[in-house]
Symmetry: D2
Subunit: 282 residues, 4 copies
């Protein structure tokens, strides 16, 4: 069995020693350890992967960890067992490139998740869902019916025991009604190099400003639009010879890559959020 | 002899044909031609390099070009003779990395300019100027003496017949008094990926926002701070493990590279400004 | 109507002038012109796009161009009418990532081609073809039956009037029997930064050498393995912490991007091959 | 006081726990810990930084570490005290760009080394050494006088107690006579993306091959030419429009950046060599 352990706590001497000693006594073999200290904030972060050749009880392991280690150091912590696939819902609108990219990776076995359903405020992409034989729920969304639509969304998320949501170019603002149920568990792709060009039509804004590089940003969704903790960013060069249409075409490739990397990091439990920023373990 | 010709004018059919025909009749051999049309704005841009084996009179060439070509198409145009080095003034404050980089390139013959002087609002970097045997003028600058300082600057610029100014991390705002004398002839390096983090302390702002990529931007100085036409940008990846000090260290390398590229482009007459953007010929 | 014209010929004065004059007299409006001179080789290259508001006869245009321009300058040239989609065959083996990527782009209308069929030496990926409703031909290929297999391939290519072939991780060497029918019309993706690590298992070789950057290369197929004219390359950083499996996963994204860019360039008629190199117009 | 500890040893359970426990008992506060396991080779690597508020004796610390930890796990290890600047010699020939770059960083305090001297097989760059007031030794080097020249080099290196050597475009092959005295302590910059284009004139070879990306590689010097453990690499895009001269100009910037990064990593004790590869701690 293999466990992945994520820890954050107030920084002090002895944490690494205590945790590694605990694992050693449990007959664990540490195959990965990375830590980070934010000195200004005084916070310690650690991610470990430990293999156990003998069978161990996950429940008693958790209890022992809490009593012997976590309480002493006031840790926020989580322990994940390897090989359990999280359930990921995908929200889309009309653009298909990120959806195709995620489903191709899923179908190849590259992306280790279950995808119980795809949800959209439009019917346009149901054909893609059909190609990959995944349920597609069409939930119309306008200001007038926001509340009903959100209740419908929450019902679907609950029924399918969704662990996290990916907004694969979902062109609606997700409200606190949903965010509060999935704190730091909704991943968005924004088609600009944030914080530049937040909000609508970033490629048009980038074109108008005459930038020489465009970008894409994947972040956890928080109440403030396009202002959540950044998980991953990437860029591509452009020039005066590129039209807005060219920006959009180049941007599609960026969006696909950046979103898929962020999803991979989330699924591999390599992200910790604090102070509206992320620690990303490599 | 070799001439470089820059043209912009309202777009219409026949411009390329007319210009290339004109050069052919002057016994010119076109060794470089690049053009661009901004369809939305309806503006045509072209850059040509033409070699002439026979001696030609530059004065009569200019006159003929104006009468036979430029007037007909309502061109803005400029013609430069190869091998004449522009005079470049460097303004600095306390950071030496961009200054060292420019002077090293100058000393190697890589940067084909003359540098009549370095000007600073501090005395700190006079030792670098001394290393490279270039005059260093210390012109203090505070709000109270702004007007006198600017007159002193203008006097030095005029006396030395400066063609363009490079702000190599000059930590003062350049006012319209200077800008109007050097329109699109003052090159600044800003230590962020504009338009993100304009203004003071961009590395601190980037760190606080938790970005995964930092950047540097070189642009022509206009009245609005950090909002002039962008010439060149580049980026570098960062992570949670990097401190603000690391951002600054990584940024220094970006700043040097981006500024030197922008200066090269300007010196090679590869930039045209319009609509607060640049056309950069490759 | 819009035409794209590709030209290469011995360099001499007057070519641009003659060609643009010719187009002007045909009432063409040049919307794109880029040229390049390889001074060492003494070869001139040009790509033009010209719009014609009046109807013109493509046949007589070609004839006139040949007689009035091409013959005089000993040009190799081709003229393409806009909006005619070339027919592209895709060859695959067992990896699906490049295939999924190309078909997603095709399905979105991003890739302006027809795809009459997918061909493979294995039956593994027929399900992908089925998802996108494209014919899939399984043509087994071993040394013993090479000749029969190649005849079968040529028959399929001819029947479907294929214009060019994309090897989307096709793990067989394509022999001169096919190459000679499709000179500079077979696009391969090699999973290394050529010329480093040509041949089999480049990720393993890169891992063993301890490189800090891996790459992918798209090139036209020639008789010498992995030595054809390079169309496009890109790279990604790696570190000691990445396993060969990580190299392969990172490489998949590179391969998809680099191959699709090369296909885009080919389809847009932006490539000219000479001296086993490419001119790539931007 | 702050210590940096580098460890490599056969992989087994309990190493991290033992080392961190040891440091905890010495009242050390671990401010950095990164580890890596090469599973195939069965080797464990770790780098730690630990602060000690109480004064400790470095000599007894080393002895205790050896007896209590290192011997048990058969470690190769080294312990460095913070704030002691290593002595770096720079070898150059005729190109000044890497030399200027290193000296500028040194003069700014960015590069925490001492530079007792610059050595060259030509007299060309003595003026740069003079600008920065560093001794410059001109040691001519030809096949006929190789042995004498190497003895002269070794004498200078010994007299100045040099810790490591940087070949900043030193255009001579360094022989085992020198390498054996400085194993994995001679850093070279090669102007290609190794293993592509090893040996002489890599830009010419890259140009001939028609690559779309060029690179630079910094590595530790071993007996086989350009085949030592790679420390750092970076790349830049090129196109058909770039001449060999352009490749060289673009390459200069790559060389400067890549070499300076490698020197930084070495000085910060962030490199471990094994199996002709490097572990580079971030």
């Amino acid at each position: 069995m293999k466990l992945t352990i994520l820890i954050s706590c107030p920084d002090q001497a002895g944490i690494i020693s205590s945790v590694t000693q605990f694992l050693f006594l449990k007959n664990g073999n540490i195959v990965y350890l990375d830590q980070h200290v934010d000195k200004e904030a005084g916070v310690f972060f650690m991610r470990l992967e430990s293999e156990f050749t003998n069978g161990i009880s996950l429940t008693s392991f958790r209890t022992d960890f809490e009593h012997n280690i976590a309480n002493e150091y006031q840790m926020e912590w989580s322990i994940y067992e390897d090989g359990i696939k999280p359930k990921m819902a995908i929200f889309v609108s009309k653009y298909n490139h990120c959806l195709y990219d995620l489903l191709s990776r899923y179908n190849s076995g590259e992306l280790e998740v279950e995808i119980p359903f795809i949800l959209s405020n439009h019917d346009d992409l149901s054909y893609v869902a059909a190609q990959f034989e995944i349920p597609y729920f069409y939930v119309p969304f306008t200001k007038d019916i926001r509340s009903e639509a959100e209740q419908e969304q929450l019902k679907l998320l609950a029924e399918h025991q969704i662990d996290f949501i990916v907004l694969a170019r979902y062109m609606q603002i997700v409200s606190p009604t949903i965010i509060n149920v999935y704190p730091h568990k909704i991943i968005n792709i924004h088609h600009s190099f944030l914080p530049a060009f937040a909000g609508a039509k970033p490629y048009h804004a980038a074109f108008k400003r005459g930038v020489k590089i465009i970008g894409a940003t994947s972040h956890y969704v928080t109440e403030e639009l396009d202002a959540g903790p950044i998980i991953e960013q990437d860029v591509a060069t452009v020039s005066h010879s590129h039209s807005i249409k060219d920006f959009i075409a180049k941007g599609r490739d960026l969006e696909k890559i950046v979103l898929s990397r962020a999803v991979h990091l989330h699924v591999a439990r390599k992200t910790i959020v604090y102070n509206n920023k992320t620690v990303i373990f490599s």
